[in-house]
Structure formats: C-alpha cells, structure tokens
C-alpha cells in the first residue's frame, strides 16, 4: 500500500454558482438513474404499506393501487387492532433484549476473532479461517434437534440467553469472515509502528482496530440485529413463554382465513426498529477515515 502523501494544504477554489450548476448537470444522469431505480425498488414495499391501511375485504377484491381511485377506503383499523393487543408491547421488548443482546456479544467476539485471524501469527491460522468460513454452510434447521437436547440437559430451554447464544453462534461465521477480510485491508504500517512502540495486542485492538474498523463493525451490527430481529424458527423451537415479535405475529395468523390484514401492518411495525438501527449506524460509513492517519 502506498505511503501517506505529505500533508500540503492546497486551498480549494471558491465554488461559483456556475461551477455548481455545471457539476449538477454533469451528475444529472446519475441522479436520474438513481431516482428511477429507487422508485422501482420502492414499489413492493409501498404496496405492502398500502395493503396495511386497507381492510382485508378491499385487498381481496382488487389490487392495492385501488387506493388511488378510492382513497376513502384507507383505514388505520388494522394498526389499531394490533396496538390494542397488549401482547405486542411485551413481544417487542423481548425481541429488543434478544436482538440487542446478541448483536453486542457478536460484535465483540467477532472482532476479537477477526483481528486474530487477520494480524496475529500462529500456525494453522489460515486453515482455521477457511474452516470458519466453511461453517457458513451449516443450515440452521439441522442444529435444531441436537441443540434442543443439549439445551434441555443444561436448562437453557425457554431462556433469552439460550436464544441469544444460538444467534451469536450462527452469526459468527459471517461476522468473522467479514471482519477478518476487512481488517486485513487496514494499512500494515500503522499496526507495525504500534507494535514497534511496544503496544500490547489488546491496546492495538481497542485503540486502533476498533475505530478503524468502524464501518465494517457498523454493517455487521446492522445485519446481525436485523436477522435476529426477524428470526422465527429459533424462537419458536427453543422458547415456550419467551415470545419475540415474529412468534407473536405468527400466533395472530388465522388458520383458515387470509391474514394479510395482520401480516402487513405487523411487518411495518416490526421493520421500524431495524430501520432505525440502520439509520443510527450508517453514519459511521464516513469517508476518509484513513486519510493521513499514520501516527
């Protein structure tokens, strides 16, 4: 990797209006493309939202675009019904414990492991890494039975910590894969100089790796949070009274009728939180974190 350029400050030219307009026009194709793609991407989600504010009979008789010709059909009653159910709040709380808990744990464990596999030397390191990535293949379903028996033996059944550990374990292959590959791309000289200065690995990890690796850690946090937020099968199998929101929604579906008037609003209520997490963390994808950062 190239050494950092000497820090000579060249003052940027003053932005004239003409220059700004020219730049905007030059970028116009990009804007257009993005707007078109964005609109296309939004349609299904928009459709789901409209469905959530239509009564079930309206959704069954005609497509959601009927909202444009018959706006009076819109109603908040689907949301009302959901919110008046006290189970929703409890379910949201349980989901928060599980999602936040396992995300925090996996970030720590994954970053430690990722750093070790990226920058610490020991024999067999690369093989361990390949083995961890290979574990990405293990499908969740096959672990259900052996883990059920194990949980039962150790009394972890129907406990939040049991569900959390399951999620952490299954998220680790991806977490380690992502963070290790990311850390490997960090500038070697920074680490070398820190080591030469006599810093211990823990200090390097805390003071250098974590801050520099923030974008990757942020994206890992986003995904792990939202995958565990939306998980159904683990909570269903390993919980009895512990009911996160996915299990709770599942318990609201009718056996012999359409349940779109439950699924649609519940999906929107449920997606607010992962979306908020996304907003909170994506500002860590800041440019130029590494510019001129040789100590």
């Amino acid at each position: 990797m190239a050494a950092a350029a000497p820090a000579i400050e060249i003052p940027a030219p003053r932005d004239s209006t003409a220059a700004r307009v020219l730049r905007f026009i030059a970028r116009a194709p990009i804007h257009l493309v993005l707007v078109a793609l964005g609109a296309l991407w939004l349609i299904p989600t928009f459709g789901l939202f409209i469905t959530s504010i239509l009564p079930a009979s309206a959704s069954a008789s005609s497509g959601w675009w009927q909202i444009f010709s018959h706006p009076s059909r819109a109603t908040w009653s689907n949301y009302d019904t959901l919110f008046h159910n006290s189970g929703l709040i409890t379910a949201l709380k349980t989901t928060a414990y599980i999602a936040v808990g396992n995300t925090l744990i996996i970030v720590v464990i994954g970053a430690l492991a990722g750093y070790a596999l990226a920058w610490l030397d020991f024999p067999g390191r690369d093989w361990i890494f390949v083995g961890v990535v290979a574990l990405l293949v293990v499908p969740l379903q096959m672990a259900l039975i052996p883990m059920f028996k194990l949980y039962d033996t150790f009394g972890l059944f129907d406990s939040i910590i049991g569900i959390i550990l399951f999620h952490v374990a299954f998220g680790l292959p991806f977490a380690i894969f992502l963070l290790r590959n990311f850390f490997v791309g960090l500038p070697k000289d920074i680490l070398e100089s820190a080591r030469i200065d006599g810093a211990s690995e823990i200090v390097i990890f805390l003071r250098l790796i974590l801050p520099l690796g923030l974008p990757a850690i942020a994206s890992l946090a986003i995904f792990q949070f939202l995958w565990t937020w939306n998980d159904l099968i683990v909570a269903l199998t390993f919980g009895q009274n512990t009911q996160p929101i996915t299990v709770w929604i599942f318990g609201q579906l009718r056996e012999f009728g359409t349940s779109i008037d439950v699924i649609a609003p519940a999906s929107f209520i449920s997606l607010v939180v992962p979306l908020a997490v996304f907003f909170a963390f994506q500002r860590y994808f800041v440019q130029g974190l590494l510019a001129g950062s040789v100590k």
Binding site: S57, K149, Q252, F256, G257
Partner: protein, 442 residues
Amino acid sequence: MTRTRIAIVAAVAVATALLVAGLAGARTSAPTRAHQNLAVSGSISFDGIWTAAEATAFGKVIAAFNKVYPNVKVKYKPVGNNVPTVLATAIAGGHPPDMADIAQPGLIKQLAQQGHLKPITYANATLAKNFAPAWQKLGQVNGKQYAIVFKAANKSTYWYNVPAFKAAGVKAPKTWAQLQSAAKVLKSSGTPAYSLCGASGWTLTDLFENIYLRTFGPAKYDQLSEHKIKWTDPSVATALKTMGQIVGDTGNLAGGTSGSLQTDFPTCVTNAFSTPPKGAIVFEADFVGGAITSATKSKPGTGFNAAVFPAIKPGPNAGAVEIGGDLLVTFRDTPAIEAFVKFLATAPAAEAWAKIGGFGTGNKNVPASIYPDPITKATEAPLGTAKSVVFDMSDEQPASFGSTTGQGEWGIFQKFLQTPKDVSGIQKQLEASAAAAYKKGK
C-alpha cells in the same frame, strides 16, 4: 388429604359432573356450579395449532376449566402450522410439551406406537357418557384410548354464493344430479359454478373423500383408509370419474384449470364471495364461514350459505359425515393433566367454545341451541347426532402419503386436476405412493 376427604371430593365432583351433564342436555349453557377442586394443582404446557381468535376461544375453555380447578395452570402456546416441526424437535430432543393438539390421526398412531404418548384410559368413562362409540374410536390406537377429538369440522358441506344462485335461478342442490344441472345453468348465467382451491391439495382430497363416502359408505371408506383395499380398486375409479365431472368441467372452473391450480385456500373462498364472484360454489368444511367473514363483505344468509354435501346414491350413505378435527393427546400423566383431559371430554368444555362460533363437536350432550347462528347450527349440529362418522382419510394416512406438500395424495390429486381423464394413471400413482409409505411404516 385424608381418605374420607378424597372420597367426598370425588363424590361431589362426580355428582356435579352428572348434574352439569344433565342440565346441559336440558338447557342452553350450564354454568359450572361445581365445587372447586383445590387439591389438584400443577401446570400443563400445551402446544396447539389454534392461533388468533381461536387461541382466544380456547382461552375461554381453559377459563371454564379453571372455575373447577383453579390451581391448575394451563400454558397454551400457539404454534400454528409449525406443530409438526416444533413437536418433532421437542420429542426427538427429549422434552415434549405435556399436551398437544394434532390434526392427523395417522401421526397420532405413529407416536403411540413409538411409545411417546400416554394412554388416556382414565377418561374412558367420561368419554362414553359424552360421545357415541364411533367418536371414541377415532381417538383409539389398537383399541386403546390415546386421544380425544375435541374440535371437529364438518367436512361434508359446501358453501354457495346466494345472489349468484338467485340470478341463475337455481336452488342449493341436494343430490349429485341436481348439482350437475345447477352447474350447467350457473355457467349459462355467466358465473362459473366451481371455485376450486387447487393449490391446496388437501381440498382436492376432501372432495374425493366425500364422493367416495357417499358412493360406497363408511365401511368401504374405512377399508380404503386402512389400505385394506388398494387405490387401484374399481371403486376408486368410479369415485374419480364422478370427481372428474367437477374438475374436468374446465369451462365451469373459476380461472380455468391453470387458475384453479394456482389458487390456494382461502383465496378460492374470497374469489367465490367477492363482487363480482369468480365462482359460485366452494366444496369445503365449516371453517369456510370464518374465511368468508374475515376477507369479504358477504353476509350470512343474504350473501353466503352452507348446505350438506350432495347425496350420490340414495340410502344410508347419503347422510354420512366426514370430519376433520383436532385431537388432543398427552405426553405425560399427572393429576393435573388427567383432570384437564376429563374436563375436555365434558359438555361445558365444548360449550365454552361452541357458543362463540367456529367450533363443532361430536359431544352428544351439547345442545344444538348453543350455536350462535343458523348457518353454524346447520353445519355443526349434525356432528352431535351423527351415528356414523369418518375422519378425513388423508389425515389418517402416513404423513408422507396423506399430508405432505407436493407429494403423495396432495400432489397426485393436483395432477388429477390437470389431467382428469387419466383415471387409471392417477390410480397407479396413488397406489405406488401409498404402498411406499405403508412399507416404510410411516
């Protein structure tokens, strides 16, 4: 607790039960004035299919139970269609729930033979008091009682669009011949007669089973169900040809053949009862009513109505009833569980749910007046009085033949919908699939 005390409590409990049962036969709802039994305590974990409104309704049953046994806590976990997964995992993992609600007698037979279920012979007396022998038999494996059919669905019904029938000038058909002529007139009137739910294979098997039952009677039905006669038997060919009069009438199917294959249950129901309707008749069980009211604006009586599945051959078979239902089983045996099981066999348990609607029971002590509306009464009351009742055949089969998506009966009947003329080919496929499933013992 001293022996005398136990005896007194037991006597009071029995007397109260008799009193309640007697009153239930004479009045609408019998409030449980039983003396509370505080001695039995414990908790019961219960994994069940019922969700949403049905779970709430079962909560009322539990509440009625707690009036008599306030110290027993029943923890109901709604699992919906994931019951097989959750149950299979739990059993294999060594920690099944105390009780479960299973819709397939075939699965119950398997579990009993593997020794996972506990017999409920302690409830035999209560069962005998409340259910006809045909109903008790449904919950037995090799003569031993393992399950109660708690909630039953009358599958020998069909539902029709009232305005469409009126516009076409047809009456709800009572016989097969009437059905055929009504279907012709409906087609001319511009509304296809049949709204089939081809994407849900189980609805096609239900149609076949009703036809077979009404043509050949419960005895032969049971023989086919136990694989004592093969699917290549000529009786099966006759039933398939009769069924072909419906599924092969492509101009009369909502959406045609390909549309029917992609329409699942309950979409076929909404198709038949929205405005304008895409079809006029839905062949399915009593739970269609709930599906209609949850997704359409159609009203009972003026918009939709139910009728008994048409008779095919006159005689005793004309009125036979096929049911689907929920059987309750136990994985453990504790005083709390025994109390709950016995309670569930009594009329108050059934009435607690029946009066809300969407519930049918074979309990002969539940009066027809408990049902909340005329349509429910018409479809559920026959259950209590039915002397000959058979269970949904596909639910009695080994799961890989009778209740697996895209395979076995479900998949092959979908093929039949595509090629209704190939009766012998379909028969061969059914027999091959059944033989494989029975051989593997699953």
